[in-house]
Subunit: 338 residues, 2 copies
DNA sequence: CTGAAAGCGCTTACAG
DNA sequence: CTGAAAGCGCTTACAG
C-alpha cells in the first residue's frame, strides 16, 4: 500500500500507550510528571515502556516542551587539568539527573564564547554553566534573553539575581604571598601567563599584600599573555633570574609554570628553596612529586563543579537555591619548595 | 483574543518566508539544499534570514529530518592530554562544518560507554566518533542498528566496512624497544598502567621485540591496572629498582609515568641515562623540559582527530572515503634520557 | 524550479 | 485523575 509513511521504525510513546491500554498523553504523564496519574497506571505504563525498550525522543520532547535536557558547560580550556576536574564533577551530578552536559571550549576568547552560546542556546538548553563573568555584551544579552537558568563558576559576585559558585581569587593570591613573606622572603616575583580575569585577580592579591608589607616592586611582576605551559614556566624563571638576580621567591600563577620554573632552576643550579622559593597555584597532578615538592594553592574546582551543578539543578526545577553566591575555601599546600 | 498560543516568541522559518515573499518550504530549501532553488531566491531568503536574525531550531529539524547535527565523540579520559589534543582537532573540523561535537567520557569502562551510547543515539546524531574497538556486544549492536555513520579512532583494522584512523600501537611499542636495544640496553623493563587494549598492544610490541633479540624476561613487565599518573610512575620505578636491581632501562607506557619515574630516579640518586635509560610514550607537554629531557614516542593524535573528523564528514554527506582504514605514522623522539 | 499537505514524536492547555 | 485536539518548527514526498 502506497502509504506516505515517514516512519523511522522507532518505538514511540503511542506504542507504549497502546501496550499499556491508555492514551498517549497519560503515558507521557506516567513516565514523567508522575504526580497526577494513578499509581497503578504509572506502574502499568512503566512496565510497557520497559517491555518495548522505549527511549523518548529528545528532539520531539524539546520541540513540544520548548526545553531540552542539554546543559552547555563553557570552560576556557581542556589543557588545564583544573577544568577537567571541574567537568568531571559537573558530569557526575548532571548526568544521573537526566541532563546531558555539553562541553564547550572557549579558549579564553569572548568572541568564541559568544559563538558557542549562540549555537547552544538554539538547542533550547535546560540550563547553562559558564566560567567567570568576563564576556561580551552580546553574550550577556543572549544569556539574559534566553531565560535559561545559568550558574557562573570559579568566581563570585554579590550582584543580585546572579547565581555563582567560586572562591576568592584575590584572597588566594594574597594568601600565598603572605606565606612567602612569613618565610622571610622580600623580593617576591609574580610570574603569570594567559592573563585571564582570574589571573589578574590573583596578581592583584599579590600586589596588595606586598604593598601593605612595603615590599612591592612592579618590576618583579612578569605578566605574559601566552598560554600557560611547563616550557613557558622554564623561560620565565630564566628571564627572572637573569634580569632580576636579587629575587628570593617566585610565585607562579599556575602549577605548570611553577613546575617548569623548578626544572629550570635545577638546570641552572639554583637551589630551591635555599636561594629562591618557588610556589605555584591550583595544586595540579605531579606537583607533589617535584624536586623539591612544590608548594601550591589547592583550589576547590571539584567542589565548584559539584555545587554549581546542584545549584543549577535547583534552578532548573524551579526552586530557589538557599544562597545565590557560594564562596568556597581554597587551601594553602605548603611543601618543600618554599 | 483567547488564542491557544504556545508560541515561544522565536523567529521561525515562516517569518523568514513571509519577509522574503516565498513559501516556507522554499525558504527551507534556499537556506540549506540550495541547489534546486533559483539563485535570486536564495539570496532574497538569505537576506531575510539575516535581517530577522533567524536561527534554525535544531530540535524541529532533527524531528522532521530524523537526523540532528550532533556528533558524539567518545574518549576514555580527559585527564590524558592525548585525548584533549584529539578533541581539539575534531572540534576544529566539525564545528565549522555545522556539527556539534558532544564530548563523552567513558573512563575506559565499556559499561559506561554503552550507557552513553544509548543516551546519545536517542538524539539521532549525524555521526559518531569512538575510541578503539573494545566495547560491549550491546554497544556494537547499538552502533550498527542505529545506522549512524561511525569512525573509529586511535587503532586500525582491516575489517570490511569499518572506517578507522589510527596508528600501529604494536609497532610503536616495538620501535621504542628497538631503540633501547640499539643503545646497548639488554635488561629493559616495561611499566604500564590502565591496561587498556592499546596499552596491551604496545606491551605486545615490546615483548615480541625483546623475544626476537633473545632478551625477553617476563619478570621485567610491570603491568598495573591503576590509573596512569606521575605519582604512580614514581612508585613503579622505585619498585623496579628494588626488586630488579639489574635493569638498565625502563620503557614507560605513558609520559606521565615516565616523568614520575625520572623524578623518582633523581630522588634515589640513580643516574639517567647512565645507569638506567628511561623512555616514555605519547610525548606529552613537559617531557622536553625534564631533567634530562625525556625520550618518547610522539603519537599523531591531532592528525587522527583531524582525519577522523574529515572521514566522518564524508560519510555523513553520503560520500565514500577513499580509504576505509587510515594508518598514520608515529615518531620516535629521542632526547637525553635514553 | 516552486508550493500545499502531511507528518516527525512529543507536551500543553482545555475539558470533563 | 484521564483524554481529544492542537501545536511546537521544521522537512519529506508528491504534484505541478
Amino acid at each position: 500500500m502506497p502509504r506516505k509513511s515517514r516512519s523511522t521504525g522507532r518505538i514511540t510513546l503511542d506504542d507504549v500507550a497502546r501496550e499499556a491500554g491508555v492514551s498517549r498523553i497519560t503515558a507521557s504523564r506516567a513516565l514523567h510528571g508522575g504526580r497526577v496519574v494513578g499509581a497503578e497506571l504509572v506502574a502499568r505504563v512503566q512496565q510497557a515502556a520497559d517491555k518495548l525498550g522505549y527511549v523518548p525522543d529528545p528532539a520531539a520532547r524539546a520541540l513540544a516542551s520548548a526545553r531540552s535536557t542539554q546543559v552547555p558547560v563553557l570552560v576556557p580550556l581542556l589543557s588545564n587539568a583544573l577544568f577537567v576536574d571541574l567537568l568531571e564533577a559537573v558530569h557526575r551530578v548532571l548526568f544521573p539527573a537526566g541532563f546531558q552536559p555539553m562541553i564547550g571550549v572557549t579558549h579564553y576568547d569572548p568572541a568564541e564564547e559568544e559563538l558557542l552560546l549562540r549555537n547552544y542556546l538554539a538547542h533550547r538548553p535546560a540550563g547553562l554553566l559558564v566560567t567567570g563573568f568576563d564576556r561580551t555584551e552580546a553574550a550577556r544579552q543572549l544569556i539574559a534573553q534566553s531565560g535559561v537558568p545559568c550558574v557562573y563558576l570559579m568566581e563570585t559576585t554579590d550582584a543580585p539575581g546572579v547565581h555563582c559558585v567560586g572562591f576568592s581569587q584575590l584572597e588566594a593570591g594574597a594568601a600565598m604571598t603572605e606565606h612567602l613573606l612569613s618565610r622571610g622572603r622580600r623580593r617576591i616575583a609574580f610570574a603569570a601567563a594567559q592573563l585571564d580575569p582570574r589571573t589578574l585577580l590573583r596578581a592583584e592579591g599579590y600586589r596588595r599584600t606586598l604593598q601593605k608589607a612595603g615590599c612591592y616592586d612592579s618590576r618583579l611582576e612578569l605578566l605574559c599573555p601566552e598560554r600557560s605551559s611547563i616550557a613557558l614556566g622554564a623561560r620565565l624563571l630564566e628571564e627572572l633570574v637573569s634580569t632580576r638576580p636579587d629575587i628570593d621567591a617566585v610565585f607562579f600563577n599556575n602549577d605548570d609554570l611553577a613546575q617548569g620554573g623548578l626544572l629550570a632552576a635545577h638546570r641552572l643550579g639554583i637551589k630551591v628553596p635555599e636561594r629562591i622559593a618557588i610556589a605555584g597555584f591550583n595544586d595540579l597532578a605531579g606537583s607533589d612529586q617535584m624536586l623539591p615538592p612544590l608548594s601550591s594553592v589547592h583550589t576547590p574546582r571539584a567542589e565548584i563543579g559539584d555545587q554549581g551543578a546542584r545549584t543549577l539543578l535547583q534552578l532548573m526545577s524551579g526552586q530557589t537555591p538557599a544562597q545565590a553566591s557560594i564562596e568556597l575555601a581554597f587551601q594553602l599546600v605548603i611543601r618543600d619548595s618554599s
